[in-house]
Amino acid sequence: MSFQILVYSITSALLLSLVAIGFNLIFNATKVFHLAHGAMYVSAVYAMYEFNRLFKQTLPDWISVALSIILSLLLLSVLIVVIEYLVYRPLYRKKVNSAISLISSLGVYMLVVNLLTFFFGNESISLNNNFKIVVSNDYFKLTEIELLQSIICIVLISVVILFSKTKFYTHIRAITDNYQVAEKFGVNVQRTRIIALIAGTVLVGIAGIMKGYEIAIEPNVGLTIVLTASVAVIIGGVNSLKGTILACFAIALIENYSVKFLSAQWKDLLTYTLLIGVLVFYKQGLISVKQRIETR
């Protein structure tokens, strides 16, 4: 039983780390506390559902799925670029503080989620959940989709970690540190922002689609997921991708093992108490980069 929880924690931690890495990239590049990330998570599932329903009649099954995945990720990228041009970039030009960009991001979140409920209704949708169980023994069970999720997540996370060695990631870190100086040294801030936004959104879209294959998704789950991811980002230290991934594992383990002692309804309480504790006592995160005192 408890081994089953461990397996489940690992798969959910991997999914959570995709969301959290995307959040981390966007937060570092744009300084926006991107709550609309949760809306992206949900809209990926809806886009996938609608595209798949459209293509399923005419095309064979796997082509339809592949085409829908590509088209929904494309749609998400277009959406995030529109959001960047209409909402985030003007705020960046005005140099507003982070609380205000949090509010406008919240506005974008509410707009997207309510547009979804307006057009598609409030019921939860599920992409497909009749997967076979691949591994089943005395200790744990593993379904096809969980195995697939873990493999895709591990591949994507390794890609992101490789990507963090490139020059582009250095640009993101330069912008995080001080975007004015970065601009003077020839970093194209606007382009870096857009690429980081698209990369983060594609990651969260993939996570959403994979979760949609596992359980049914309703429009309002996005906020909880993005807030949990942001807890991971803050706990892991905002500047560190590896810290974020570690924190995701810690959170998933705590959340899933707490079910043994407390009932599942207290899961939210636990995560958010953790967030408060970390904010108050370890604002720099558990793994942090050395900084000047006045920039903290």
Binding site: L102, S104, V108, L279
Partner: protein, 288 residues
């Protein structure tokens, strides 16, 4: 259309948005925990009235005391955290309080809520009907509005504005910032308790879903659209947001779609106000 009901809701939200304005507009701390205090006020009043058989006004006093004590937590956040992190901490606090109210079934009734809350009894006269409650709400709203009207003329407010605009300046004048933030948070929490207790006795039924994060977002919306740091802005914002659903109700669509349409309008207004008029329609101060 029930005008007395709308008037009563306006009065409640005027109290809520003015209190939120005291924290956000005068000290520059954007808090998402207002609905948590609103809920705590409602629940404490209800529980004291039902379990100990107290009258309305003593229970209200207990609720106010309780809220002021809980607001120490927010003060603790505000003394340690700055803008984004403070907002996040209050957001987390809001979710924690909601989770407790929603899941602690022994005390709060969980998702069933608490029903049959006794009405208000003033010197033997039991209030019944919307009109009586609108008058009671008007009484409290008048107290809160006049408090802020006279409060605006005191030197204390100029000090708060100084803290909001340049905290370092206030520190270098030898002011104890934590103390002033503590006073703002406590006064706001006390007023919000009044709003919560009014809501509870008026509906005679409460459950935790009235005090979600969305409610907090709505209150922040109210003070942002009207403009922070003055009296007319929050009052306008509160009335505007109470009236708006009455307008969208005229559009012939079913009720779930109507609810999402309402949220779409709220969020569009929020985005547009932040984008084009960051200090609101009447505000002097913008978050920068």
């Amino acid at each position: 259309m029930n005008w007395m009901h709308i008037l009563f809701m306006c009065e409640i939200y005027v109290i809520l948005s003015l209190s939120a304005n005291l924290v956000s507009g005068y000290t520059g701390l954007l808090s998402f925990a207002n609905a948590a205090f609103y809920g705590l006020g409602a629940y404490v009043t209800t529980l004291v009235m039902k379990n100990f058989g107290f009258n309305y006004f003593p229970s209200l006093l207990i609720a106010i005391t309780f809220n002021v004590l809980i607001s120490f937590i927010i003060t603790f956040f505000s003394s340690r955290l700055k803008d984004l992190y403070f907002t996040l901490a209050t957001l987390a606090f809001q979710v924690v309080v909601f989770s407790v109210l929603y899941n602690w079934e022994k005390v709060t009734g969980g998702s069933y809520g608490i029903s049959e809350i006794p009405g208000v009894n003033i010197l033997g006269y039991g209030l019944n009907g919307t009109k009586d409650y609108a008058i009671l709400g008007g009484f409290f709203a008048a107290i809160v509005i006049s408090f802020f009207y006279f409060f605006q003329r005191t030197p204390f407010v100029r000090l708060l504005e100084c803290i909001r605009d340049r905290e370092l300046g206030a520190v270098s004048l030898g002011k104890n910032i934590s103390y002033y933030k503590f006073i703002c948070n406590s006064v706001a929490a006390a007023f919000i308790a009044i709003a919560g207790s009014l809501f509870a006795v008026y509906n005679s039924y409460i459950d935790a879903t009235s005090f979600t994060l969305n409610e907090s977002i709505l209150i922040v919306n109210m003070i942002l659209i009207g403009g922070t740091g003055n009296l007319i802005g929050p009052v306008f914002g509160a009335c505007f947001y109470v009236m708006l659903p009455e307008l969208t109700r005229m559009i012939p669509i079913d009720s779930t779609q109507g609810a999402s349409l309402q949220m779409i309008i709220y969020s569009l207004i929020l985005i547009l106000v932040v984008r084009f008029k960051p200090n609101g329609l009447f505000g002097k101060f913008k978050f920068q």
